[in-house]
Symmetry: D3
Subunit: 135 residues, 6 copies
């Protein structure tokens, strides 16, 4: 069924993201990295291997940085003034989401709840994004 | 409806991709970049601005490199020997797909048909990927 | 005199910027890249060498990307809710500045006036930044 | 004598590696990083300094990633279908080598034997590479 | 007063740094990263949180690498033979400074005194740099 | 015969290059990139395809940057004061070599002779490097 859905949504799931701009943006990029952050914390918690846990710390740092980057790109490059009018909390949402990915959030914490909050915030942004694509 | 589908599929759309490994892989990463390559070529064709076209050339180079990277990660990190048994053409498929993203394909060409071939090949890999997730 | 000023201001010019966070931020990072963008455009205009001009296009792309990155870091990592209360236009300012560095601004243009607008916007942000450091 | 050998082999040791393609490939790039991985593990074992050992973990992660990258480039960009006919195990070899550099191998382990296995596998690929250059 | 100084010095504080070259160089880039290295060590010393300290180790590694990079760029790209005649210790200074940022210095140490030595060396280079700008 | 030579020299061809330091350095890293620069220029000259030539310009820029990086690493990380005593022109050699890779050399030129000069300079450094390994 995933393929069917994928086939149905194909044209609309292709969004622009480079700054040519090519016009292809997709919040899945941020979400995948946020899922990774969450999964890394789970694996860190489940392991007692010192080296593995150190690797988890450093890889989480990189993945959280990618969450920030993909969100920043969406905020600056995809969203336009008319979107802001319809979604006045857009700036706040991105500010909170990128802060949640940073030192005060997923980078600085090994708390699974923090990773989940980040994921939820990314999902909120994703919902707004897809709403603008339909408008 | 996209949100509904997204909600339904959420747990299964989260796959691992970093090399901890966190266990989150998603062919969407390669596909988004391949869509970008295709969109860049369309914008290049539609423009007569010299500087814009040069920017298109250099940005397409980066995006095609990312297609290769994301595919390589899937091939080496996600797929395991049992998958190969079920999909004996796996190596060939990835070899052809990454070559299609490179100098003999999307990097070296401004042909929209080549970008489409790359996208189709990524889709083939994506179908196999999702089939293994259900097995 | 520059050394004197530099000596006098040393402790206060050191601000944090990595996401440990180390606490060292400095808008000079964004400003230096924005100056570079402006200088590249001037050199592009002054040259009739085809290869040099192509190099200018690609290097400007990288420098403008760095302007965006350094601004995003300031926005997300340095500025806190109390700053926003005192400077309610903070989000707008950063949104406009990063957009000015992107496709609709310095990346997508060879116009010296656009580079100057970017520089001015970075200076506005810099002024707010330094005001918050004194508060 | 190294200089003599180097002088004799100079034209043939220059292989292409960027994806223009410039036509310069050299498995030495992967081998140097694999030697580094092995040396890092030896230094890690010989040290009881906590910070040094943490640095070893993170630097090994980067070097192992470079092994993977250089191998992927050789596999996709250098090797062509006729090479595969002569070396039917080419795909398997690269798959195993890149897996040996990853989480299930040199990235995920502090075992010197694993690093040596990676080095041996890179050497096998190197031998095939040089054999194709002579054919 | 910072803004006033900044306004007065604006044209002269803009130096070139990319290798077009755009002609904009500024030792502040190296100094900011060196300040960060110093601040990271202070935060490391003040914390007893295991994960925070591991993050400090890895982030310091990156910042120290950036110090090296910015110094190398100044040495190779900005300084010219006439500068060397006036400052015959230029090579020694850069060699020592970049070594101080590396394994035998700030990368390999958690000693605040080493970070300060690096900062002092960067300041020495900065003084020479600004002296050449006035000549 | 290459394999034989390679087997004979194996232990001595492994030099350190990361800044742990792992102790593995090899001037081949710089030489391979310099060979690439030279090959790119040859391909640029042989082509009349506009897009191909633009790609050559941008890829040469990256490869020349890598030459600089690998040389800087050797200069700062591998060479020590005793080497300088034996090779008093070390600083000059590296300064000239990295300048030859930059804007005033291989980056800023499409002249095959410049690429050859860079390669020769890298070879000179390589000879000194290997001489120090035997001492």
């Amino acid at each position: 069924m995933r393929q069917l859905v994928s086939a149905l949504l194909r044209t609309e799931t292709a969004q622009a993201h480079c700054d040519l701009p090519c016009g292809v943006y997709d919040p899945a990029q941020a979400r995948i990295e946020a899922e990774s952050v969450k999964a890394i914390i789970a694996k860190y918690d489940a392991s007692s291997d010192e080296v593995f846990r150190q690797r988890a710390v450093l890889i989480k740092e990189q993945r959280a940085e990618l969450v920030k980057h993909h969100l920043w790109v969406l905020w600056t490059d995809y969203f336009k003034p008319p979107h802001l009018e319809q979604h006045p909390d857009l700036h706040t949402l991105f500010w909170e989401a990128t802060k949640l990915a940073g030192a005060g959030g997923a980078k600085g914490s090994m708390d699974a709840a923090v990773a989940q909050q980040l994921l939820d915030k990314v999902e909120q942004i994703s919902d707004i994004f897809w709403a603008t694509k339909k408008a």
